[in-house]
């Protein structure tokens, strides 16, 4: 087990820079999830830590040792690939034993390790099969098995669940959570699925276009997104973002519609340009008199547990999360109120969060 540290790490492929000055400390035993849209550089970060890509700048340390020039085989990490990368000509048993055999572990000990990993992952009945004789979920398990038998300093996961169907993904997510709790090995997990990120992470790293937008515990990121990007990326459905100008007790949007700001809500100074953010779950129907804004419902999605009402406000798409039994139909006018503590402000230039005192 070990700590994984990235200091000012950058990466360019030829002239295109894909990672900019990344700093990250994954504490010993911590489970950190890197989340971000496709192409933001998540895999690249993981591959640099694994030693599959050289870093262009900065330093990577594993267990206190700088590994910039260390071969992948000497970094003592294990990686689970998106396509599993199981050796097709070897049985499940041989796949799991491969790394141990290379390290020269005695046969009996290898058998013991493999048996233990197989037991944890419920692979006992499949040990003599070839990868092509396994289902997607089973292959995924073997890939995990191959990682855990070696008892490495750290696990790296690159979207390990993205090839599975929705149901299996939920199941494996829970298993990974359980497994990581039991093993307590330092883990870095890459995904573009924010539910995976929210549920698995001790801390998560939100990336966008090669830059770290925010690092923090999932709930902190959800409650206090550091930028408009994070606000829109984390949370389903995403946070509603409205750009406009701060007025007297109100917020005027581009086309002239107004959001009435509740008394006591923090707000930028009078006349400032800003982005107002509010989560779908923090908009509640109220009487016309106290309404901050009135939304005309266009589409309704009934999810069973709750109901999503979509509409447009001053040209901006907006979503509201309502109780399951909410009676409404397209065309319904919803008078919605804001809660002072649940309003987020972002700078329209830097897109960064504005932390403002209540007023």
């Amino acid at each position: 087990m070990a700590e994984v540290v990235l200091r000012h790490v950058s990466k360019s492929f030829g002239k295109t820079q894909v990672i900019y000055d990344m700093d990250l400390v994954v504490a010993d035993g911590e489970f950190v999830v890197i989340v971000g849209p496709s192409g933001c550089g998540k895999s690249t970060v993981l591959r640099m830590i694994a030693g599959l890509e050289p870093v262009t700048g900065g330093v990577i340390e594993i267990g206190g040792r700088v590994v910039n020039d260390v071969e992948p085989k000497d970094r003592n990490i294990a990686m689970v690939f998106q396509n599993y990368a199981l050796y097709p000509h070897m049985s499940v048993r041989e796949n799991m034993a491969y790394g141990l055999r290379i390290r020269g572990m005695p046969k009996a000990e290898i058998a013991e390790h493999v048996a233990r990993a197989a037991k944890i992952l419920e692979l006992e009945g499949l040990l003599d099969r070839k990868p092509r004789e396994l289902s997607g979920g089973q292959r995924q398990r073997v890939a995990m098995g191959r990682a855990i038998v070696r008892d490495p300093a750290a696990f790296l996961f690159d979207e390990p669940l993205s090839n599975l169907d929705a149901k299996l993904r939920v199941q494996m997510r829970l298993e990974i959570q359980k497994l990581s709790r039991e093993l307590g090995t330092t883990s870095l997990y890459v995904t573009h699925d924010q539910v995976e990120a929210m549920t698995l992470a001790h801390r998560m790293v939100v990336m966008n276009a090669g830059r770290v937008e925010q690092i923090g515990a999932p709930l902190d990121v959800y409650l206090r997104p550091a930028s408009a990007f994070v606000a829109a990326f984390i949370g389903v459905p995403p946070m509603n973002l409205l750009a406009g100008r701060v007025g007297e007790g109100a917020f005027t949007l581009g086309n002239g519609l107004v959001v009435r700001l509740p008394a006591g809500a923090p707000r930028p100074p009078f006349g400032a340009e800003a982005i107002l953010g509010v989560r779908p779950e923090h908009l509640a129907p109220v009487g016309e008199a106290e309404a901050a804004l009135t939304l005309t419902v266009e589409t309704i999605e009934r999810l069973g547990a709750d109901t999503l009402a979509h509409g447009t406000f001053d040209g901006n798409p907006m979503v509201v999360r309502l109780p399951a039994e909410a009676t409404l139909q397209p065309g319904t006018r919803l008078a919605l109120g804001l809660v002072p503590d649940e309003i987020h402000w972002f700078d329209p230039q830097t897109q960064k969060r504005l932390d403002l005192p209540g007023g």
Binding site: A50, G51, L52, E71, P72, K73, R75, I77, A78, M79, F81, N83, A85, L86, Y87, P88, H89, Y98, G99, I102, R103, K130, R146, R150
Partner: protein
């Protein structure tokens, strides 16, 4: 869905396959049946008397020390050509797979020998190795090796093996390269993370995954060494010195056209035909099933 084409006319389908049939008949079935027929006959060199001798030509061949020697030479030659050819091509393919810059030039250069006619390949190597004017014997002499493949049978064998390998390297190389490139990168990376160094990765991951390609090429190369090297041997050594590079195909030619022993030559052709049919069967039977992972 019905995929077969149904012809309304009775003769059209026959007309369509006729050209192919004509070619196969003229250049394969006819000569093959002639050979089969001839192999059962004993004919004097001037064609004045013909006698039916049954399998006597075959029986005679297997008692003939010269023929058995040629068999051994062919086996040695094929093993060397296939073995060296495959190893060398694989090495080149592995290197080409790693090269990023200039890869196209490297590949194009490697494909050239395939476009050279066998006889020209033979002549090319004769010039290079010519004891009198060749550059290689000149260099070899400097390190104390006296080269004369016209006298030394081992050197003659070396020469034809080199020429035959050189000619076939391109073909092998292309298949190996395609095979290497079809191995997912992530497998190699997974092995690297599992702790395997480059050599280990090659022998435990890459090589086993290439085995279908290797097996296919092995058969192709044996067939090549058995049958397609006539031009090289004819231009380089004419089977000599002595009989030291007289492989089976060359012996067919020598006994038939030079020795005018048509019956024996035909019997040898029939044996070769049986070998190639055998190899083809092996190819078809096993390529799809046995050599898989």
């Amino acid at each position: 869905m019905e995929k077969r084409v149904v012809f309304r006319s009775r003769w059209l389908p026959y007309a369509l396959v006729a050209p192919q049939l004509a070619i196969t008949t003229a250049f394969f079935f006819w000569p093959a049946s002639q050979a089969l027929f001839q192999s059962l006959l004993l004919q004097d060199p001037f064609g004045t008397s013909v006698q039916f001798v049954g399998l006597e030509n075959f029986a005679h061949l297997f008692r003939d020390e010269g023929y058995l020697a040629s068999f051994r030479i062919t086996v040695v030659f094929s093993v060397l050509v296939a073995g060296i050819g495959l190893s060398f091509s694989l090495l080149l393919a592995v290197m080409a797979d790693h090269i990023v810059r200039g890869a196209l030039v490297f590949r194009t250069l490697l494909i050239w020998p395939y476009a050279v006619a066998p006889a020209i390949a033979g002549v090319l190597w004769i010039f290079l190795f010519s004891p009198a004017i060749g550059i290689l014997p000149y260099w070899l002499a400097k390190i104390g090796i006296h080269w004369n493949h016209l006298l030394d049978s081992r050197q003659a064998m070396t020469l034809v093996v080199i020429a035959a390998v050189w000619k076939q390297v391109s073909y092998n190389f292309l298949f190996f390269l395609a095979g290497l490139q079809s191995i997912p990168r992530s497998l190699i990376e997974a092995a690297a993370i599992d702790g395997a160094g480059p050599m280990r990765r090659f022998w435990t991951i890459v090589f086993p995954l290439l085995s279908p390609t290797t097996f296919f090429l092995l058969v192709v190369n044996i067939v090549y060494a058995f049958f397609d090297t006539f031009g090289i041997i004819d231009s380089a050594t004419q089977g000599g010195p002595g009989q030291s590079t007289t492989v089976l195909v060359y012996k067919v030619f020598q006994d038939g056209f030079k020795g005018l022993d048509l019956g024996s030559s035909a019997a040898q052709s029939v044996i070769l035909m049986a070998i190639v049919i055998g190899l083809t069967v092996v190819q078809f039977r096993y390529i799809e099933r046995k050599v898989q992972y």
